[in-house]
Amino acid sequence: MAEGYYDYPVVKRPVWTWEVPAYFWLGGLAGGAYLTAALAQNFGSADDRRAAGGGYYVAAAALVPCAPLLIADLGRPDRFHHMLRIFKPLSPMNLGAWTLTSFTPVAFARAASHAASTGLLRGPLGALARLVPTRLAELAGVVLGLTLAGYSGVLLAATNIPLWAKSKLLGGLFMASALASGSAAVTLQAGRRAVPDATLHRLAMIESAASAGEMAILTGYLVQSKKAARPLTTGRFAMPFWLGAVGAGMLLPLLLHRVAGRRHGRALRSLTSAAAICTIGGSLALRWTIFEAGKESAEDQGASFDLARG
């Protein structure tokens, strides 16, 4: 016997579709990649800088589908510009829209300036790109990129869907996942170029740190969510969540990195690339399963009552 009114849900099922987790994933990846690249620029060796510089390209590339995905999910895509009708940071959705809008040109500019600095971009475009104030773009990009990577979990948490809202850690979890996938993307592209093993090791280490952090936060998230996590941990999303997001997305890369830690050359490259692909895929799986399971969670009357108990 239901505690409430028959077995009707207390809250509404979100209307969003696959575009939203895809966008969260790509946006996070972009932010993570940008940050990793920027970290390398500022703290890394010349090899690191060269290797991680591709992160700017990754960030720019990942941002390309973001706006279309976001717009596609709107009920009225023709009114996408209303997202910028007001500036209202209270609304994570509004904040995200402004962030995406400002981060995209910054990331492209930084990528262009990087391309110009490596000689990839020549001619008048290259000259133009060289005008980009690198430091400023980097700073702005890092702040914006981190915001983009970090707001999505908060956005979901800023609802009354038990699976999303119960724990305090969804924002952190998505941030960690974004950074893991972003750094993994940097590792992945670096592995395809001639970079020293040491750089790859360092990148892998950063990625591992993100994955390990993600793992820890996920544990906290699940513990905090209690019964509200059931649609994720049991039921039809349990398999993709445990095997995909957790197994293949976190544990496997950690394991691969551990193995790769003692390897060099081709083996290292293969292992880090495999780990990076797993991390990136896992990041998508995490977003997707939590997103979809959230819809089921919306129908959980008891969890809603739990969430709203004084």
Binding site: G4, Y5, Y6, Y8, V10, V11, K12, R13, P14, V15, L35, L39, N42, F43, G44, D48, D73, L74, G75, R76, D78, R79, F80, M83, L84, R85, I86, K88, L90, S91, P92, M93, N94, A97, L146, A149, G150, Y151, V154, L155, A158, T159, N160, A165, K168, G171, G172, M175, A176, L179, A198, R202, I206, A209, G294, A298, F305, L307, A308, G310
Partner: protein, 280 residues
């Protein structure tokens, strides 16, 4: 430039505030006739939601939605072999609560959801772009988005407008006007609250010990979402009517969640800097 932006974004100066209007839904007077549901659909020209029996007493509506802005619940309470006197059939016309702190309004990125001059919460149909964020934000499951392909205002968020159009001409909202037994009362929120307190006293004096108000400033349900401009007199605990004990306002915990997110970001940056800097 600013004017062009305002034109493109459909930005106008809001009207000056007036006295707050709201609903007091007294479920002890509800006869479950559903006139409110139909009057609402008629006035707002909302389509039907489909034709299927639920088996849940006489409620074939189920819940509020994008095209159902009043919903009458039917709660059957009876024991086996109980006498007719112990039997209760509670009826309650549910509606958007028009919260003082409205989660939907706070979530809205476009400013489509606004607080009107009457203190009500209203979705501006020419602004809403159907982002859908208000839908899971509402702690009461009220607001919903219509399908992107549909006959009625496709793809935007909808809920009770408290008949914003009628308020402009000092008309009573359609549901309250139709209600044959004054279970739905419309008026100045302050006055309705006074009336509600008085009514509760009356019912308690009559022995209706389970009667309570839901959505008053002094109620614990107002802790986060604030007092409700559409509030209720219930004859049982709120959960029986699918109303949360303390409806959550997501914003209340948002800073904390941002904090964790930021901490992870900064932590990562530090770790990254450390890892890279060690050799650099």
């Amino acid at each position: 430039m600013i004017d062009a932006y305002k034109r493109m974004m459909n930005i106008e100066e809001p009207p000056a505030p007036k006295t707050a209007k709201g609903f007091f839904t007294d479920t002890s007077l509800c006869i479950g006739c559903k006139a409110c549901e139909v009057a609402c659909k008629q006035w707002n020209q909302l389509p039907a939601d489909g034709f299927a029996i639920t088996g849940n007493s006489y409620d074939n509506t189920g819940h509020l939605g994008a095209t159902t802005w009043r919903h009458v619940q039917f709660i059957e309470q009876a024991k086996a072999n109980g006498s007719g006197q112990e039997q209760r059939w509670l009826m309650m016309s549910d509606v958007c609560k028009h919260c003082a702190n409205a989660a939907c309004l706070e979530a809205c990125p476009t400013g489509a959801l606004v607080r009107t001059e009457y203190g009500t919460v209203y979705v501006q149909q020419d602004i809403c772009n159907g982002c859908g964020f208000c839908v899971p934000a509402c702690p009461f499951g009220v607001i919903d988005r219509t399908p992107k392909t549909g006959h009625f205002e496709a793809g935007t968020a909808h809920k009770c407008t408290l008949c914003y159009d009628r308020l402009k001409d000092d008309m009573t909202p359609a549901c309250a006007k139709s209600c044959p037994t004054a279970s739905i009362q419309f008026g100045d929120v302050e006055e309705l609250r006074t009336r509600a307190r008085h009514r509760l006293g009356e019912l308690h004096a009559r022995g209706e010990s389970k009667a309570r108000l839901y959505g008053m400033p002094e109620g614990k349900e107002a802790a986060e979402v604030g007092p409700l401009h559409a509030f209720f007199l219930l004859l049982d605990e709120p959960q029986k009517y699918n109303l949360p004990e303390v409806p959550r306002l997501p914003r209340k915990t948002m800073t904390e969640r941002y904090g964790w997110s930021a901490a992870v970001g900064i932590g990562f940056a530090l770790v990254g800097a450390l890892v890279l800097g060690r050799r650099g």
